[in-house]
Symmetry: D2
Subunit: 366 residues, 4 copies
């Protein structure tokens, strides 16, 4: 690893990165950020408790599960996994057999960035992609996919998956989720939500987390923690407990059952207590709004998608984008949509945003 | 999780555990222990470095990979994964196709405690078990499995896997590993080592880590960190770099690529610097020796296997085992071998061992 | 194929076969036999009907399905597949998830001769073997496997599978099947029957096919046709139609949906009309009885298992077995039980049996 | 099956078929045709030879394999499988791991009509589709897919697959295959050819079969027999024998090893002897040319793709297509391209073509 993976990932950016960029000279990913203080404190505290039973039978895991049930105001079943690939892939695998299919947006992370993870964990379930403006699926697009084929030579649709917030930084409204869930129910599809940035969506919508999930018809939520300030770990939340039958076996077999589970679960306490998860998300969202405000004021720069979470997608003049990278700024050229993806984290500083915007402004003015 | 998993795991012990056992009233598992101070310090330090590239392109991961190459004195390729199920299953999957088979000991963890993980990740490779005293495979036992069948109606053996130290606490000598690797080479089998407790074996043997791995003919080592003081994480070490081709893709697809990888890799620095990994292992091994010494002196108690790492398997009188559990002590009734498994950790205190042994002595005397 | 596979299979026999044995100089397998006249006639007739819809929408397939429903006196769902590996593996895969397990006899064909097929099609389900005299599972053996473990580190038993008639030529009585199904129901296991030689068992028991299947508690039967006189093809019969949901998709994805399905289904008409399937089985069984009668009269020869179907397992003196093979006779040295397996087919001639027995007698007398 | 599958398949046509159409009142599929006389004769003859070894060790299979080596003028390795789903899926699975990808045309059968078969058999390999006129991939389209991504978050391309003749009835020229193989070699991709209608392509091109396969750079060919007059069965031909290593094990595990293999292989003798396979293909192609000539002369009807094999894709006036179906004619509305697919078989009669065309002409004139 290390050396080899570095090469691969560099190619992902399509441009070479300087060997050692100074810290926070980037809007590349919210995954570049560290652990937020509250999560780290909880992890350390969990260590101070000495020995604890393994595999989730510890007191920390139980507390977090209870806190999640409180948070969602329902008797849901929650499972901790190591990352988003596993969370989404295993949740989907639990909802369909190998000969079924999953309806997702053209730009869905599971389609574009999981290296075939959902296909692997499900034993071959096909992802059927559908278009939609601003990265969002629509009831009509789902209906079109479901009704396109009804023969055994094509995998039978069984799940529809939404990313909330989406890969392009937009957010489904409660009404939009409800409308999609309604068509899903009519077509006997389960509703899965990829919530790698669920916190950012809730912060933007200002609704209770239950409103955008089970009360709107979502069956399973993959609730992301890593991008929101955790070191590692996501939670798979089954609102319909029957769907969680034997899911613990699935996790174990799939290499997603942590032995010292408290170190995966306890940091969630740091996020959940005092609504740090929302505070972190609100901050990241605010930084994105600041970036958007600054950039849209620059002639020659255009904002590509509604800025509703912690990402700004901006079309910079080609020379400006190139010059910014030469100055050491890191950011992705977004695959599939073009332009620059500027991602803010829970600890992105306003000064960094201002500095970035100012440099772009100068370059565009030149 | 939490509540439900608790139930399941309790059943694994075959006896009910008290609801809230006091800390360290157990020899149940080295997984019950926390993070050792050096590993925790490295994790915290990695967080202090601010933002870092994701997916292994960070400076910490590179440093640890280099340290591992130094440790093994060879240009090996190392990959971080979240746990032992994944480490072993993915390493084996990279060595065989679905219609191949893996030769392992009857008591191998991959056979008895991974819920079909190796079969899942390999797409169906069968584990062919072989007997062997003290939990150890022998060249003859391997030869017998390889030559039993040679038709296409039975999966073709492709890998032999050793657990070092073994599931019953014994350790393969350098000569034993070499002899197995020799028969493996002759039969065109790759050699995999499940090193969940590799540190304990190296500490016991007092040899250089390379002597018991690649210099003895091991192709791939799963080097365990969790049981040795890490919060989470193992390393898959390919001594033959050609075998590591595209392994990063395999990890990504299988949900084993950490986005904030430094929090998985950096704690290894804490273990590797100053040979903390060996110090931890030596301590755990010493506690097992103490336990063995105390128990074998008690009439009615017998030691079941050579105590060569951090586990003691003891046959206690039935009433004594029962009474110990009633007093709140936790330990596993070992599945497959009978008797009690007493597992020591990097931080097991001599007082706890003495107290356990004294209580057993009293019960046996009564 | 051809040349290479030949080598492999030869090794399976453990002894070299003469290059070109004369026809019917063997008791190697009922798979060596050809197509029975009635099945061939039906195939030819199906071809005479000109063009027919593909993928099972033809009139022949519908007729055979109806005939099967008549035969079993229940509204079962039947699916045609190409061979026994697929029939059993796909039926089992439809009854369990990858983290579940299947309880089978030590000698079950799915364990010993499918090259990991069940593990492959199920995505990793483990086979848990149990002992039993005469190749038959018992309620106690099943109970022992089910209760051995109940933790998530071991795959959860979900199916019990019986082979009827068994791999050693014995037959489960109606009472035995019922007793096993009763324990299965109590333990929430589905009951699968590998009926590669189902016809031979029915012929021996003299009961209605429903008595030994759904009326006794069997959920799914793999009804073998190939060994009973068909060129290719088995039927998976779901007595509980709910279990057959989406099974047609599973077949399609798994490469088991014949496009010109009438050529797989129509030959079954030849077997089913006029109970040719039972006549064929009775003949093969009778030949086995004749062989048994002749062999058991020879001093030095012993019969190893109850001869209740079309196989005789006999312990011949080593020199006799060797000499018989030198004379060109083919038969398997049975893997796992020792001795010689002598398998009779629907068209085995009494003269061939007499000749074989006479030559053995002469050799033993010498 | 039967009843249930019928429903499913009817929906595939998007229009209801009359319950019992008279024979040959269709251009629905070349799969509707029966067995050609020569193939049936060979099957019957193979049955007359009495008992034969199973699993491919029979004399017929060896003869056919030798005939195939003669046909392709190279020491290729050939394997018989039951159908095209299995042939293509297993061939592809042997060329890539689960985290690799396969480049295919948007309309490739493996993408649109295999119910996720390739994903299932490969354990999750993703199909990456590329556009191309007349159903044909181009070097540029392949290059674009290969260079789109080079990071580990996206499956690594490993194979390019061509359908020859294509799903829309066109044929790759020798030069086109060579050009694609050249880019494939440069990009380290293996070249797979889906030859479900390979015979039709060879008949059209008038080249030696080797010219369009291994001499042009094809590594593996799935040579279709079913649509060309066989009852069941395709051959997977590996021109690079190293790629065929252990493929027999793969077949066995995947339920594609016929026990009475002679009944799958022998009919190929009927096709290969006297070049019946080419005669059959030429006839079907000629019927397509006749259909094309008749239809293109009708005002209001347009031919959608070059007619280079045995299919005609025609845009009929909507009222005419509807009326033809009402008269009992069956044909597919082609999914993905619109229009009507008219497929000719090895035994399609000119009178049927003339009758079909005449009825269309009358309807268009009305």
């Amino acid at each position: 690893m290390g050396r080899r993976t570095k090469m691969s990932a560099s190619r992902y950016f399509r441009v070479a990165f300087p060997a050692a960029p100074p810290a926070m000279q980037h809007f590349a990913s919210d995954n570049y950020a560290g652990i937020c203080p509250e999560a780290l404190a909880a992890l350390v505290e969990a260590n101070n408790s000495g020995h604890e039973p393994a595999y989730g039978d510890d007191s920390w895991t139980e507390r977090v599960c209870d806190r999640l049930r409180d948070l969602f105001q329902t008797d849901c079943e929650a499972f901790f996994v190591f990352n988003g690939t596993a969370a989404n892939s295993l949740a989907l695998a639990s909802l369909c057999q190998s000969y079924h299919s999953v309806i997702c947006h053209d730009l869905a992370h599971i389609e574009t960035d999981e290296c075939g993870g959902p296909e692997f964990f499900s034993g071959g379930s096909k992802l059927l992609t559908a278009p939609g403006t601003h990265g969002k699926l629509t009831p009509d697009a789902i209906e079109a996919v479901v009704t396109r084929r009804a023969d055994i030579h094509y995998p039978k649709p069984k799940v529809v998956t939404l990313t909330q917030s989406t890969e392009v930084g937009s957010v489904y409204t409660v009404e939009e989720v409800r409308a999609i869930a309604a068509i899903a129910k009519r077509r006997h599809l389960k509703v899965h939500m990829d919530g790698a940035r669920f916190a950012n969506a809730v912060a933007t919508l200002g609704v209770h987390p239950s409103e955008i999930t089970w009360r709107a018809g979502v069956d399973v939520l993959c609730f992301g923690g890593t991008k929101n300030g955790l070191p590692v770990g996501e939670v798979v939340v089954f609102f319909d407990r029957a769907l969680a039958d034997d899911f613990a076996y699935r996790l174990k077999q799939a290499g997603q059952l942590a032995s010292k589970m408290r170190f995966i679960s306890a940091p969630w306490l740091g996020l959940l207590d005092g609504d740090v998860w929302l505070r972190n998300a609100r901050h990241a969202n605010a930084m994105a709004q600041l970036m958007k405000m600054r950039l849209e004021a620059i002639p020659g720069v255009s904002i590509m998608f509604p800025v509703e979470s912690n990402a700004v997608f901006a079309q910079l003049p080609a020379h400006a984008a190139k010059a910014m990278r030469a100055k050491g700024w890191k950011f992705y050229e977004f695959i599939g949509a073009g332009g620059c993806r500027l991602m803010c984290a829970w600890d992105t500083q306003p000064e960094t945003v201002e500095r970035f915007a100012a440099e772009v402004r100068d370059l565009c003015a030149a």
